[in-house]
Amino acid sequence: MSPAELTAVLFAVGVVAGGLGALLGLGGGFIVVPVLTLFFGMNIRLAIGTSIVAVIATSSGAAVAYVRDHMANMRVGMFLEMATSTGAVTGAFLGSVLVPRVLYVIFAVALGQSAVAVARRKSIEHRPAQPPDPLADRLGLHGSYPDAARGRVVTYRVARTKLALVLMYVAGTVSGLLGVGSGTLKVPAMDLAMGLPIKVSTATSNFMIGVTAAASAGVYFERGDVYPLVSAPVAVGVLVGALGGARLLSGIDPRRLRALFAFVVLVVAVDMLVKGVT
């Protein structure tokens, strides 16, 4: 494969990963890392370094729309970024001491979790009463968002902020360790623990992912795990795919796509597991 061919193929991989990621509410990292390692035979550290840079591109590109449309709760996002960025640094350093075999196994487990999360995703319409949260009151975290389906502004209250900080530290560690956005961990932490509406959770997760990824990307960059011929076409491809892909793929029934995705991800998870233990 010539350098120009590799660039073109990796760009295409990025476009598909970005498009699918946007459609499923994932960053694309869960697709990029397995493709680079299993299909192209690349080093898993290079795959992770490449993926984390691509994740920054998608999150930053998508965050503009979420902020402009008042879907993301910036205050909640910035508050929780304290935990995710600290977790991401932990993860990036953990990644440098773990041998690649262990990385494959952890990645397989994380893939399994995300497959289950995507397959079972549904929004909770009627929530039980939220416990009071003085910290959320003091920081002014409660918010509102324009719900297009209901045609009005929906207000919501935030709860269990301290629990969310702990969960976000874990999500950040997974992100930094595996080079993924870990939206499948961030969204439930906000949706289920804090009681944010699912649309706000998804938007806020996307808003936060760029900062989380930047915390570990700096470490990967300086370590030399980011390589121009690989990381650049993937990053630009994922950005293009994320911005345009959701529209291109809009004809597909999302439920069927989620089921197909869950199946594919489980197969890839088994592949990664086999690569790790043999």
Binding site: E222, P228, A232
Partner: protein, 144 residues
């Protein structure tokens, strides 16, 4: 999208100011566009540069064998070497400069938020965003 008929809308929430939102959106948009342009220019330069053609081919072969840092075409990965390489018009260095700008985009977004919260006299969030900024800058300072 505010609803003036909804009484809960006016009273219940502390929101971020439009000025802060504009700043955040602006820095994200500019960061992504500029870094993508630099990355694309660098890739084009790397691929057309005849001087590096054989070494680039060798690097691709090494990458496909699982080599982490190909010796065929070495890429700079410290800020100083990236800057000096890009200043000399070397393709790989230009790509790395673009990727560095991309990584810096969220960091700048946090810095802009700090300024925005300071202008809004929101002392708690100035401290929160400063803490995030410290982690981000710290991670880069102790990386490598």
């Amino acid at each position: 999208m505010r609803n003036p008929d909804d009484p809960s809308d006016a009273s219940s929430n502390v929101t971020t100011s439009p000025r802060l939102e504009r700043g955040v959106c602006g820095v994200l948009r500019a960061g992504v566009s500029i870094s993508s342009l630099v990355v694309c220019a660098g890739v084009a330069l790397t691929l057309v540069s005849s001087a590096s053609r054989s070494s680039t081919r060798r690097a691709v072969a090494q990458l496909r064998r699982g080599v982490l840092r190909p010796s065929g075409l070495a890429a700079p990965h410290t800020v100083a070497s990236v800057l000096s390489g890009a200043a000399h018009g070397r393709g790989p260095a230009l790509v790395m400069l673009g990727l560095l700008l991309l990584i810096a985009t969220p960091v700048l977004r946090v810095a802009v938020s700090t300024v925005g919260f300071a202008l809004d006299r929101d002392r708690r969030f100035v401290l929160i965003t400063l803490a995030v900024l410290a982690v981000l800058i710290g991670s880069f300072a102790i990386g490598g």
